[in-house]
Symmetry: C2
Subunit: 156 residues, 2 copies
């Protein structure tokens, strides 16, 4: 089961760093895994987590998300809506690279996911030219979605 694999990885990484395996950490990661594909704000995660465990605090959610991000178990993206969003790490869900990008419409604000894999070349170039080891990336494209382009042309 994927579920189990992810949990084991978290346990292992925590142990490596001398940190503790707590219910909260396991639960938060499992919620993220069960909602793979959604971009969840800390509040969203908090909402889901407290459904079953109302005693968990929002601060713990924030602290745990930071921790999971440091360990590269979750991905983070900022969609300019005032809060940081998280999803289960691409390293966990597939063996391929993280090529999930976002198109953000400047007019209606819609966020459209878009998959493409033209960045590997660029990352190799960066490693070589800058001596910087790339682990992940965040890519956003700003522009106009097809609907807004139509209304732009028709002059409304």
């Amino acid at each position: 089961m994927e579920q189990k694999k992810t949990e084991d990885l978290l346990r292992r990484k925590l142990r490596e760093k001398g940190l503790k395996v707590t219910h909260q950490r396991l639960l938060i990661l499992s919620v993220l895994e069960q909602n793979s594909g959604r971009h969840m704000a800390a509040e969203d995660i908090y909402g889901l987590v407290t459904e079953e465990h109302p005693e968990i605090g929002l601060a713990t959610v924030y602290r745990t998300l930071q921790l999971l991000w440091d360990m590269q178990l979750v991905d983070r993206i900022n969609l300019d809506d005032g809060c940081v969003r998280y999803e289960i790490g691409h390293l966990l869900t597939d063996e391929t690279k993280h090529n999930h990008h976002h198109l953000i419409c400047r007019k209606c604000g819609r966020v459209i996911p878009f998959d493409a894999d033209l960045l590997d070349e660029l990352e190799d170039h960066i490693e070589e030219a800058a001596g910087f080891h790339v682990q992940d990336h965040e890519v956003k494209f700003y522009g106009l979605c097809s609907d807004c382009m139509k209304s732009e042309k028709s002059g409304c």
Copy 2:
């Protein structure tokens, strides 16, 4: 002079939208232009602007930056340090595309600018496949800078 050209563009765009040409708007854009290359937070810009015009309010700076961004006269980037940063729009400083990316070290937090132009192809693909008209992009690479890689290896 570049300066003049930029100002004229702002005047024109404002008129087009029936908005007013104010000292504050001209001044803020000119400060951004004079500091091309820096990533400036609203507070930074406010600091520079109030040197000569202490009466200008911070809220006006925020409102103006939003406006300039909507008009595509400035670029916006979020470097995960808790504030949004601005710089003069790439459309104004050069005729080429916006290929100024950022490498962010997960260990020491350093931000390293990096120029490369491998995104045009991807943007064409997006226009075709998603019917989305790309105007701009924001790209961040997370990883380890060369210094932190050294200390990683030497085991400190």
